[in-house]
Symmetry: C2
DNA sequence: ACAAAAGTGTTGAGAGTACACCCATGC
DNA sequence: GCATGGGTGTACTCTCAACACTTTTGT
């Protein structure tokens, strides 16, 4: 962790006096459902600016990795999780967003089932924590804006496509799925309408197994149909 | 146009041996309606790689300008046009997309009324040309992919929000507007349904004037209601 | 008067919404 | 047998889609 200088090659047609290169990072908004709440993983900054404030985990983009790889790497470093739903969100590049220097960040968001995270050893020493999206702490840089944008996008996606599963374990009950939707959208949904719509979308299959824990009648367990990824993109799933 | 080297400051926590900075550009997909066709403005490359091939106009992002400013600047340099609809599209960052070096590009798209362009002096000396989106030449880099993505997004936007006006002069007839939609979506629309929907969306106002050129009955001229920007975002405008 | 484009309503189908009771299990 | 959550059907409304003729102008 030291400041440094480096000599870089500049491209043809590039006037070095005017066109210094910005730094490029990826930031990954990591969503998960934790105890009936939509939460994000944040890391505590160690140094100025915004020292000791919470921030979205990120990484500098290395010269030979793609943006997706950088995002996946940042995600794995913080959570140990791989193979989860990741999507590019937006690129934030205001010259003043980092007071030290010009940093352009390509924001991604990821949906991770919470139990997948707990088993992973947090390889990074940095302090991390899960925070409710509905009670966020003060955030470094423009990270609040990024989170707000990510939530809008997640809600939007949820209505039009079927990404809700990505936040649940690979088998789940319809009630669990509905609860996930309700938490994220912030509103109650009608049970019968929810079930009709989600089942008629044909993206689930019954496992045949039943969920046995807790009181009451055991619920059928469902699984996301692997072959049903693109199908749902057409129409709105929820009002 | 020379190669150069420059010494740059690196941020705290940045290991210079591993993390050289990529170059960052913006590319702007400039759409316009030309003679019943959806066209894009392309520039002919002068130097290798892809010399003499067509490419999407772009610019390096300067250290003290925002991404939007860079996009607006690139747009103004090629078309002389300002104050047009511009929207960030996606960020393309494959390490191999430029064979010379790592270039990350933030793609934008812009909708410009065609007559606004013609009056402007092309300030750049580079050769430019308008090409039909439905008969594109071979393109440099990954620019074909960017254009395909831009068209999908434009169609999508057109269905859900009211951006069609941005491609027309500030007063226009409903038939002209419908034709614009048809060209972009690539399908015929029903005249009565189109008019009902577009009028009930409440984003147009009559000018009181009538269009007088050509044969047949003169058509009412409409104008986009300035105060109606956000309203339309809710529901799908077309099937 | 006729050619050309503008303008205008209705009907049927399907999707969305609201709503209340019986069922299976554990204790 | 009762408490707990799982599971199911129907009627109304509204939006969407299909469809053809009259009106206004210029020549």
């Amino acid at each position: 962790m030291t400041e440094g200088k480096v000599i870089v090659n500049l491209p043809e047609g590039y006037d070095s006096s005017k066109y210094e290169r910005p730094s490029v990072t990826v930031d990954v908004v990591i969503f998960s459902l934790v105890e009936d709440d939509l939460q994000v993983l944040l890391v505590k900054r160690k140094s100025a600016p915004f020292a000791a404030m919470w921030a979205i985990p990120g990484a500098f983009v290395r010269l030979h990795e793609s943006l997706e790889e950088a995002a996946t790497r940042a995600l794995a470093e913080e959570t140990g999780v791989e193979d989860v739903y990741t999507e590019q969100l937006y690129t934030f590049g205001d010259p003043e967003r980092d007071p030290r220097m010009r940093v352009i960040t390509i924001a991604y968001f990821a949906l991770v089932p919470h139990e997948a995270v707990r088993h992973a050893p947090g390889r990074e020493t940095a302090e991390t924590g899960w925070f409710s999206m509905f009670g966020l702490p003060l955030l470094a840089f423009d990270h609040r804006e990024i989170l707000d944008y990510a939530l809008r996008r997640l809600r939007y996606k949820l209505e039009y496509t079927a990404v809700g599963f990505q936040l649940l374990p690979d088998v789940f009950t319809l009630t669990e799925l509905q609860k996930a939707y309700e938490i994220i959208l912030g509103e109650k949904l009608d049970k019968r309408n929810f079930r009709r719509k989600i089942l008629s979308a044909n993206i689930l299959e019954e496992t045949g197994e039943k969920h046995k824990e807790g009181e009451g009648r055991p619920a059928m367990l469902y699984r996301y149909r692997e072959d049903a990824v693109a199908e749902v993109k057409t129409r709105r799933l929820f009002p």
